[in-house]
Symmetry: D2
Subunit: 359 residues, 4 copies
């Protein structure tokens, strides 16, 4: 189940401390011009850097091995290779028989009878580099259809950020080291992160992603609903524990008359007055902005002492996870959420035959 | 995309006011004894009834047409037929050219150029009858493995319900007309619903579902994560706008040291001290209770006047949806959430080879 | 695995002596006018009748339960129900613990630990009624695009039939009780069948199916090749033991210079001079007639005594299969092969976006 | 559609003259010891070499980038990379606007509006290197269950080879430069190939593959039949135009009483007396040898002059394909057929839960 998508299918592979991570994109339309610079920029956005993220140096050079001739896609599988550099497994060596709390060590062991103890292996956030690379290609397709994807932090460590216009929020957040779209609250959130770092701890937050200019008609009844597909996509990102569309959990406290979007005519077009539904009705896009939010848990790797199990000795131990970790994964999760949303939209657009087989 | 599941595959079909709804279950293990009484009881739980739900009379008799010989499954597809009785499309006739706000009329029209104007057609909650029938068969399998599924309302119209033990909550809620597990708050919630009815309006709420005795190892890296699969399953239910696992959105406000579950030894078994993770780590079950919550929007069908569009005349109109509607869909959504969770778990257990091909 | 197709997906269900057989068609484009008469006629073509086929009376009335409103498809699943009438399991009762040679009794038992002993259960040719119903709907779509499907017997009991023009062959064969397109050889083949009947035996043959006006570009590299997909489709029909495309096995004896189709310009179009390739190159249609042949084994049900096993007593026995069987299944296999070829072509045309989501 | 398999899924990628070809294997059981030497040996079997094959030098070094730790599989995707070395596109440059007869140039162009003119691109036999690598890992699994796969040429250029015992045939053929299992006829076949070479032409043939010790119960009703799956798998190999199981096309000329396999008891086991069915009944393995044959067309690349089209000028031209080609592809197709059969069997064994998730 390392493949995502119906017609635009992305298969990712690779372990955190293995030779490389990568993906194969199958079903990409032919005739797409590959903008290598854009892909590199997207990879850059996910890379660690700055005081608020991991110290691991990831070059994340995207090597395209197939499916592209003279920078144009052939309609055949695009194989993407991203070498793992600066891998350092030494800090894991000491705890290789200890399940790290909040991590997948135990569950992979329970499932497969074996797990890669080096840096989280397949369950590491490192895997998302391949998603961002695939998402970058999806975004190149979306661009051709005028669709824009804006992701940013909506909340960090309990500090909520105000957003009026998603596009502006995106622009501001891209200049913020923590992808905060609210200049007023940014300092407060950064202080919370610094506090966490100082106490060997970590914090979580919420990512919001808005897709503009999405055509109506995307999503498939009844199990391929656009909201179901998006929830699946975003919930598959490591550390995500909740997903909501439009006003999400809030709607459970509204009346029908408050929540229903009045349908109106605007410039001769059928539109929805408030878009509380987040651009989706009955599982199908209605032409308004698609809005999704993801709850991101605090990074489980903390240097604070925690209780756990040494599975070799089968006894309780105390463990402190050293390595190089992000005190708050939210900023780096933003481009990953964008990538997953982009993959879903492109796939739905091919299914709906809006994106043709040959561009 | 009317098929759900990898190996335990359920294909549902049918429109609200058509001849019937139903499903085909493909991949059900052979040798399962079919308990018709149990299936009938599950259908009963979803049926409308009482003052708090639609007045439509749905007999929901489950007719099994294939895949079963002498009440034992053959391993071949199980075809289930549920006739639609008491269908009355008259109230829809008057508004057949008007998109009902909050409904899928417009989006189906945008997607297919045509839609069934009678009672929501394929997008109606009626479709979930087939899910509950399939879920009942899934539950029969889960029972064989000691797994229990407990669903109930967690919140209605903003009134939060206290739950200590999911099993007890389930028992109490099953006696409540609104599936409320909190005897103290029940009246308050009912009053809110009555208020909504009286003003021609509706309310929403939150459903919680807990699966006990789930074995560790379920869920597939990286896109078949158990939480992603559950989110997809539950978000595909009509009216659901948000999904969360374990403590869900709350974790975004916690520190890593608060959120991480300490791993402990209990009776010689590896266990998780608090289960804030809701039974899932790295997308794979860890042996603790699997906990999921769904935000359910207020029923979009309300008799209050709303603004909308008549697509024939292409002009704005005022519309009041008469028909027979649930003022609050939460109580009836509970068995549907349970059904979807059951389908996911059985499918994952077959994938993990815990459930054999022949029982 | 009772579902066939990527985007035009047909799930069949039902046992030979159960209440009914049927299918769900998911992914049928919206806006298709359903021609009930045509569907009935296609069902008629598969029905037993005449001296050369089974005496079982199958009414094969197709009941459409969903997905169609006022005879037009909605884009939602089309559920088809075909009641089993005139079911007589008495002749099977006597041999219910004996595996019938050439049948699937043993293999279903080995797979599922249980099998439906009544008339072959799920493995019976009865299941193909659902395929023909689905195929009829596929043909309605193909018609809209000018594609015609012509099936007929190419050989029966070793008697080869000459075919010059597939369309004429089809017309002649439709008037023949054994679907023979060669008036000269028809009598000879019929004599062979009568001989087999008289000695309590059966004969086999070869079905040929030609699709005309297939657009170039159908089929997906590399595992969704059109020839691979067709082989899969046709080999899934009971009794088929071999499949070939174009000149098929003959090409293994040709030189490259003989086998390669010269590419020419004809009326300004790129065409292939001889079409020995059967309309497919590199797994993708080239615009010429798609030609496929299927080897059909002699009906395994024969009244002649055969050696077998009684699994209850675990001892060797002699068995004579009475029931009502076709002495030669080839004529009735013709519409089934046509149905499977039609399903493949429609699916590939949707994948290639030649058939739109809304017709 | 570059992915093959339900649970043991292989996604191949790469063009003939691109940087590399490769595949991702998803769903490989954890705990499998990777025998690198065996994989290298299998790659060697497919490599060109000797006077009867292409002069292209393919090192075919298999680099495993993920999914394996200390030579043991982790249950996560195995990414395989095979660099293309000795690529020479010069001979193609001259004919880059000419569709080569018998090749996929035209059909890829019709499908995608673009094609890789260098050596057949994605449609080249080069792609099968990735299949053989994946097949080698499948064979490592089959070995653990005592299943053996024997492939060899059954016929070349019309010269039929006698085979009594598949295992012996395999051993003899592995020493033959043309994979001929019949020492008597080998010279004759070689002469035919030499004749073809001398006249700038090519020849075809038939590959046979036998799987021994296949357990009963593999294959899924009704569209996942083992024979259908095998036909699909083998027909997806470039140059294959026909597939048959057991006695295949011959059965169409037999009587039921001749073709049916008597079921007998042998050493207390249920067995089939003659295995004309090729190990499959009703689409499910019966425990006897699985036997499949593939018709391989003569290599389309020939230096003889042929008629074709220059698509740039849209005019008829004469073309002679130079490059480095196999005069007969049959010997090199043998390990590819074996690989595809192995992939099918492993996948079916995982589906049937005979191969566990953790070995």
């Amino acid at each position: 189940m390392n493949t995502f998508g119906y017609l635009f299918r992305v298969t990712t592979w690779g372990e955190s401390h293995g030779k490389a991570v990568g993906c194969v994109i199958d079903g990409c339309p032919a005739g797409l011009k590959i903008d290598h610079e854009f892909i590199a920029k997207e990879m850059q956005r996910r890379k660690p850097g700055g005081i608020f993220s991991s110290k691991r140096r990831e070059e994340d050079v995207v090597e395209i091995l197939s499916g592209v001739l003279d920078d144009v896609t052939l309609g055949t599988p695009i194989s993407i290779l991203i070498r793992n550099v600066d891998v350092d497994s030494s800090s894991y060596e000491k705890i290789r028989t200890v399940f790290r709390p909040g991590h997948a060590d135990f569950t992979y062991w329970a499932k497969f009878g074996i797990y890669d103890w080096r840096g989280g292996g397949r369950a590491s956030g490192r895997e998302t580099a391949a998603r961002v690379a695939a998402g970058a290609i999806a975004k190149l397709i979306l661009k051709r259809f005028g669709i824009k994807i804006f992701g940013y932090a909506k909340e960090i460590a309990g500090i909520k950020f105000r957003v009026e216009d998603p596009e502006k929020a995106f622009e501001i957040s891209e200049k913020s080291p923590i992808r905060c779209p609210d200049s007023e609250m940014e300092k407060l959130a950064e202080e919370k992160i610094v506090e966490a770092i100082e106490s060997g701890d970590s914090v979580g937050g919420i990512v919001e992603c808005v897709a503009k200019n999405v055509p109506p008609g995307l999503g498939e009844p009844v199990f391929g609903k656009l909201n179901a597909y998006l929830a699946y996509a975003v919930m598959s990102i490591p550390a995500v524990k909740g997903v909501e569309i439009g006003r999400g959990f809030e709607v459970s406290r509204l009346r029908g008359s408050e929540n229903n979007d009045p349908i109106i005519l605007k410039d001769g077009k059928i539109r929805f007055a408030k878009n509380d539904a987040g651009g989706i009705l009955g599982g199908i896009s209605n032409g308004e902005d698609v809005v999704i939010r993801a709850a991101v848990k605090p990074t489980p790797s903390i240097s604070k002492e925690q209780r756990s199990i040494d599975w070799e000795k089968m006894e309780e131990v105390s463990v402190s996870v050293k390595g190089r970790h992000d005190p708050c994964i939210v900023p780096r999760a933003v481009p990953v959420v964008e990538a997953m949303v982009s993959l879903v939209l492109v796939d739905c657009m091919i299914l709906q035959q809006i994106v043709p087989r040959k561009l």
